[in-house]
């Protein structure tokens, strides 16, 4: 079985963001980077599938600048077999259709049986790339899965709906699924596996060779939302903060009164 996992490198959301000179994106210097949280579940599910199906092979793909290789190494250490890095220093400007188009161009003649993506990226969060990719490859797709099983060419998955309801659906491979938080428990790469990952193939392809679609939308500008609530911000020594907070609760609420 031939498996593809798409992962995106995103900034740590706890970072202090600054708007860059173009005013259309944030400054990418001095940020900590990690694997998009949703994609970790995709990698884990792909590795579990490989453990179940003899002879399965996993390609992990990421589009982005050179530093995305660091994140790809984690996926290789988790158990992916090879990496395909599509080098692109402009990735933050691309719209979802362009991103999906690039991946589709790579994947078209590779006959993937199963494709895993995250349901959304944490930074741009469009939730489109997976479904668009499936449409481009004429492959069936199911979004937001929280449960996955495979048997004899058929997958059964559960989609998470609002209010804690799930929908069970079944379909034949080839298929694409977009992974939701909690789908599984992503493993931590072990030290021996981190060492092994260093020897795995990590192919780099220039984005120009694969980009066939033009952008359909642009970012006019990016800005910090106004703080509307006007809530109080307390800072300082914990013991004093605790006293201040208790005073506020006494004054503003009926609790502790």
């Amino acid at each position: 079985m031939n498996i593809l996992v798409c992962i995106k490198q995103v900034p740590d959301m706890e970072s202090k963001f600054r708007i860059d000179a173009s005013a259309a994106w944030f400054d990418t210097a001095d940020l900590a980077w990690r694997m998009n949280e949703y994609d970790e579940y995709g990698v884990e599910q792909a590795v579990r599938l490989k453990e179940q199906v003899a002879g399965a092979d996993i390609t992990v793909l990421s589009i982005g600048p050179d530093k995305v290789k660091e994140t790809m190494k984690k996926a290789l250490a988790m158990g992916c077999d090879r990496g395909v890095h599509i080098t692109d220093s402009d990735v933050s400007r691309r719209d979802p259709a362009e991103i999906a188009g690039i991946i589709a161009e790579y994947a078209r003649d590779k006959n993937f049986d199963m494709i895993f993506t995250g349901m959304q990226s944490q930074d741009r969060g469009s939730g489109q790339v997976g479904v668009l990719l499936a449409e481009m490859l004429s492959c069936a797709a199911v979004t937001t899965i929280v449960d996955f099983s495979y048997r004899e060419g058929r997958i059964e998955v559960k989609r998470e709906l609002e209010g804690g309801i799930r929908a069970s659906v079944a379909l034949n491979i080839p298929a694409l699924v977009t992974c939701q938080l909690g789908l599984n428990k992503p493993r931590y790469p072990t030290l021996p596996n981190i060492m092994k990952a260093k020897k795995k193939e990590l192919l780099s392809l220039p984005v120009e060779d694969l980009r066939k679609l033009e952008s359909r939308q642009q970012t006019a500008r990016i800005y910090f939302p106004e703080k509307k609530g006007g809530g109080l911000v307390l800072e300082g020594d914990p013991a004093r903060l605790a006293d201040e907070l208790i005073q506020i609760l006494k004054q503003k609420t009926s609790i502790l009164a």
């Binding site: 489109q128 668009l132 797709a141 909690g182 359909r216 939302p225 605790a242 609420t253």
Partner: protein, 305 residues
């Protein structure tokens, strides 16, 4: 401008979120029509034209099938914009339709200002103004961003839509997450643990503060997904909706799906090391502190009162 609003149905019942589509339409201006794969026995309160396909024939999750029905409707209606809710139905179907139409899709729209669509970036820390370069636009609306459009009324003028019902996906059924456990909706005071607690041992720290205040403890999704806390204590769109007198969010960033479950709380205190955490936008008090230091002190002081 002409809009096509895509409503949703579950178990044969039309979902109330079509209301938010109408609110957006009011803001955008222009004409609109609605599309629904649903039942004639449960229709939206909508006085306009409703393209209705039967969910008994076409199912509730047959995306290939729904895509075709919607594309047929779009061919008749020729809308400039196709509007979905950013929901499990909308985010699944919208990209399929956008790709078929060669249209740009803008996801999770939170505002519409002078023809510009505004979307969140990086867990709502930033906002992005999007300019669309295609003639037709597909949008999905963030849940709750466009508040319901007041009194709605009228009965739709129904135009039936049908087609083949082929689908590569077989729907097997719905299941509800097991009920039982804690009913947070009844609690007057809730102290919730987020990923910022760092390790499972610290759940007890948060639970102790909840006890000291005479309340219950809750959690954000990552804490539940990691199985540090049971699912019945999860607050948010895929957990419980709560409206206590006091909600204390410990190490919770304030993602929209969490806020959706607790923003009706009367008084919100957030304890977070990140001064810019989006929870600060709805908190009455944001205490910028390491919860592992502050929470035990706070618990001790409250217990001593």
């Amino acid at each position: 401008m002409k809009l096509l609003l895509v409503a949703e149905c579950r178990d044969g019942i039309v979902l109330g979120n079509y209301n938010e589509l109408l609110s957006f339409a009011g803001k955008a201006g222009g004409d609109h029509a609605m599309f629904l794969v649903g039942r004639e026995s449960s229709l939206p309160h909508y006085g306009g034209r409703l393209y209705l396909a039967d969910s008994v024939k076409h199912g509730e999750y047959r995306p290939d099938n729904h895509k075709k029905l919607l594309l047929d409707t779009i061919a008749k209606e020729k809308p400039d914009m196709i509007v979905f809710c950013h929901s499990s139905y909308g985010w699944d179907l919208a990209p399929r339709v956008a790709w078929a139409l060669k249209a740009a899709q803008v996801s999770e729209v939170v505002d519409y200002v002078d023809g510009d669509l505004v979307v969140p970036v990086c867990n709502a820390k930033l906002r992005r103004v999007v300019r669309v370069l295609t003639g037709t636009t597909v949008v999905t609306l963030q849940a709750g961003a466009f508040s319901p459009a007041g009194e709605l009324g009228g009965s739709p003028v129904i135009e039936r839509v049908t087609g083949d019902n082929e689908s590569r996906i077989e729907f097997l059924g719905y299941e509800a997450v097991e009920a039982g456990g804690v009913d947070l909706a009844k609690a007057e005071i809730i102290v919730s643990a987020g990923r910022g607690i760092g390790k499972p041992e610290n759940v007890e720290m948060v639970a102790a503060l909840a006890r000291a205040l005479g309340g219950e403890y809750g959690a954000s999704r990552p804490v539940v997904d990691s199985e540090w806390v049971e699912h019945s204590r999860q607050v948010g769109t895929t957990g419980q909706s709560v409206a206590p007198k006091l909600y204390v969010a410990c190490g919770i960033s304030g993602a929209i799906q969490h806020l959706a479950g607790m923003k009706k709380s009367e008084f919100v205190v957030a304890i977070n090391t990140d001064r810019d955490a989006p929870i600060g936008e709805i908190a009455d008090v944001l205490v910028v502190a390491d919860l592992t230091q502050l929470v035990p002190i706070l618990t001790a002081k409250i217990s001593a009162l």
